[in-house]
Subunit: 566 residues, 2 copies
Amino acid sequence: MGSTAPGWQDKAEAKRQAVLDLIPAAWRLPTPLPTSEAQPDVTGTYVQQFLSAREIELTEADATTIVAHTTTGQWTATEVVSAFCHRAAIAHQLTNCLHEIFFSQAIAEAKLLDAKFAATGTSSGPLHGLPVSFKDQFHVRGVETTMGYVGWIGTFEGRKGTGKEKVHESELVREIRALGGVPFCKTSLPHTVMSAETWNNIVGFTLNPHNRLMSSGGSSGGEGSLVSLKGSPIGFGTDIGGSVRIPAAFCGIYGLRPSFGRLPYAGAANSMPGQNSVPSVCGPLAGSAASLKMMLKAVLAQQPWLHDPAVVELPWRDELASVLPASAEEMSTVLTFGLCPSDEATAPTPPVRRAFATVKALIEKLGHQTIEWKPPSHTRATELAFQAYTADGGADIHHHIGLSGEPLQWRIADYYGTKPSPPKTADQWFDDNLELFQYRRDYMDYWNSTAALTTSGRPVDAVLAPVAPIAAIELDKQWHIAGYTPWVNTLDYTAAVFPVTKVDAALDHVEESYTPLNDLDKAIHEEYNPLTQGNTPVGLQLVGRRFQEEKILALVEMLSTALAKE
Amino acid sequence: MGSTAPGWQDKAEAKRQAVLDLIPAAWRLPTPLPTSEAQPDVTGTYVQQFLSAREIELTEADATTIVAHTTTGQWTATEVVSAFCHRAAIAHQLTNCLHEIFFSQAIAEAKLLDAKFAATGTSSGPLHGLPVSFKDQFHVRGVETTMGYVGWIGTFEGRKGTGKEKVHESELVREIRALGGVPFCKTSLPHTVMSAETWNNIVGFTLNPHNRLMSSGGSSGGEGSLVSLKGSPIGFGTDIGGSVRIPAAFCGIYGLRPSFGRLPYAGAANSMPGQNSVPSVCGPLAGSAASLKMMLKAVLAQQPWLHDPAVVELPWRDELASVLPASAEEMSTVLTFGLCPSDEATAPTPPVRRAFATVKALIEKLGHQTIEWKPPSHTRATELAFQAYTADGGADIHHHIGLSGEPLQWRIADYYGTKPSPPKTADQWFDDNLELFQYRRDYMDYWNSTAALTTSGRPVDAVLAPVAPIAAIELDKQWHIAGYTPWVNTLDYTAAVFPVTKVDAALDHVEESYTPLNDLDKAIHEEYNPLTQGNTPVGLQLVGRRFQEEKILALVEMLSTALAKE
């Protein structure tokens, strides 16, 4: 490359501007936009001011409500998709949540769906006309995938001339289309995807729409922010250490981390894509547990196990939720919840503590049982996860960062260094796998042992836990979280996040007399500030064993319904 | 160790003798035993001469027949277990098929089962009193596990003082006991288990009971030989590249290679136990497809997914076989079988060709469809499998061989060298995993594409293939087989082996005019000798997609029933 070739900064800026330029003039917000300090919360009436009443009605409908209307011809695909495109465009201007925009393509596809409906009188599938967003690891025809890497701009996963550029689609995208869904945008993520914060050299930070001084979480932060602002009714993120759950919790929405092999990941981009011991999984984020359930059920009906060799033949199983009472109030069965309020190393800050206490009290009020969760060390689980994440010495990440010469974000460099280190050898990798297997077996034994403690005589039905000791972090602050989410990945368990409350300065006081457990815990508690962090959502996760998606979603639905009545 | 310490030869000989010494004097065969040349076939009337009429009745009953009698109190557990102990003792003297004998323990357990039955009037489970043998990778309390390594004698997997010696049991063994089954012996295998021949420095060769000049196959050769001689009604082997299927086919019995994650492997010994890309699986060998089905169903009812983290929650699913006609003759559904007569690189020898033609004709006679199977290269599949098997540079194998200083068998050294070579690095391992994933995906696409060729409109129901180009090999002859079995492991597909015929000098003439495809094919065909190899069984495998055990077993049962009527 000669000296006239543009540097990574120019490429990144051109890409950022090209995406913005795809927003129609009519959908541009008046400039200057308010600062985050001036307008931290851009949800609710703030964002509504830019939308018509009809657009508000359509975009504030839950995904299940939308398909109930589109599959019966009450709403057209075109009006639904157009409304979400508009609201997504606004969301991006307010929070930096998009990486790829393909609104015209989506609206054209919606028109085809409407024409087909008009001609046949039937819908094109259970997701007929439902707009679906995707984290920028999924390939969609017509647009590129950068995964936050400047070096991937104009390439296919960093390589040129593969013939796959802007043509190849990920298997999940194909299935969503086959169901009548309409992909319409791709969302932001940290380069490498190995971060719980969403920042990259192309779009910068993705903001939390409930408090734009706060992070949207990561690595599926674009999905968290977009879905939270109702710029998408449902979208797909990925989770290798908490990357669906953290943004879902930080942004106040629902998110599912299914077990590996439940949903198809084939044909999507990833970091260390051949790492098969603590692998990344894809999972939906949406405004309700019912939407997650509808999506999972719909995708499974596509028999993804016939198209992705990693997917297991597990159709939707209603019977997995049969242990549950028919409604939150009906006490046909006493359920038992394990209570896991912290990651052992640190304690939750006041808003998370309050959220946890709220749900604990609710569970008990509903007549269910809670027991203290005393499993094998979650610190150990985190170590095992990071053992897998870093086994290649960062070779993959540094290769892709090196394509453009862009700097690796400091928080990722904390784990991966600024250059590759020696990779593990295969025999070491096998030894690590044995440690992982032993940990999983010990945990399984512990879970089984709880049958002796429950009213039902069954082992614990699910475990309630925070996803972080904090509601969210302030942008670019040190990310002190490790142990609240990776244990679920180490164990390959099912977890779903649900919103519980929001940071409230009147309720969540700084506890002046708090005695920190250690330096890390001290730092976490010192960063908590109810005044600047007010209105940030607080979510919790409910964790079930491997492949218990049906049961965990049913439990989350039960708890959320009851929470709404409180 | 001083110079007075016994060498590996002494340890091996002592171990071999100690096992023989556990055979009660009354069960010793008159010496000298006939040579293999003098008495190649020791099945049928030959072995029956050493047994009572009652013992013959009990041991020649199928496993399903046995439990039908034991669970209803018609036969006692004690008489059944004792009869099999006797016959296993004879089998070992004739074929070298056992590594551990614990007949007294088994008979004592059978007596307890009988006492419990007498007291309660009910059986202790669906396998009440059924003797079950295990390949010497499974740990059973009271005895040790050598896995064929001299260096493991007196240790737990090569380590001393672990506290697990003779106490620890593998999860599968625990489940068999919970079902009422009675472990009674452990069977021979090649050290390292990475061989399709059964030989080690402790017991030497395990012979094929139908022709003792021939190999029992491997690596589950002890199971193949023992079950074939009806010294066990059912037993468990393992399969990483064909190790259940090859001995099942060579010895003329049925064997199942389920997909990884169907049956519990937890707590069993293995080579490269942390190798998780083309992993070993355990599977049963028995005298009928119905027995395999009964065993799989019984183990799954133990919910192994609650006790082994690698097992997937897939209970027995009758509906997977619902596509099949109710009987072999009823033509409610036309099934389609892919025909895969070779591994591309070599052609089958006359007896295998005849077996294949027999089953092809039978399928067509039953009114089902056959199509030519033209999948992605099976040679490539074999390369991918060996890439995984050898990724650690042989570190694991050479470590365990080195514990005693025993020599590594030449055929295993062909793949692993005589000392370790540099292992792959984690990033190379990840790249290999991507190649593996792409191969699996290409194969899946091919399988899906066959829907266009079938009468049913469904993709092919199963693929018929040999497990080797030969019926079996003569002892210690070069093992020229690579490509007939590992593709199933590379793809993690379900495969079941069933017996078809036996080498018959009158039918399976050497084809003098045969033009070999290449040097390998020439060597294979030159080694074929219908006179010395006569009476060796010939089996074939039926292969289905991942986790299709119910369907494949039903198809094998259908074909075997029809074959029996020919």
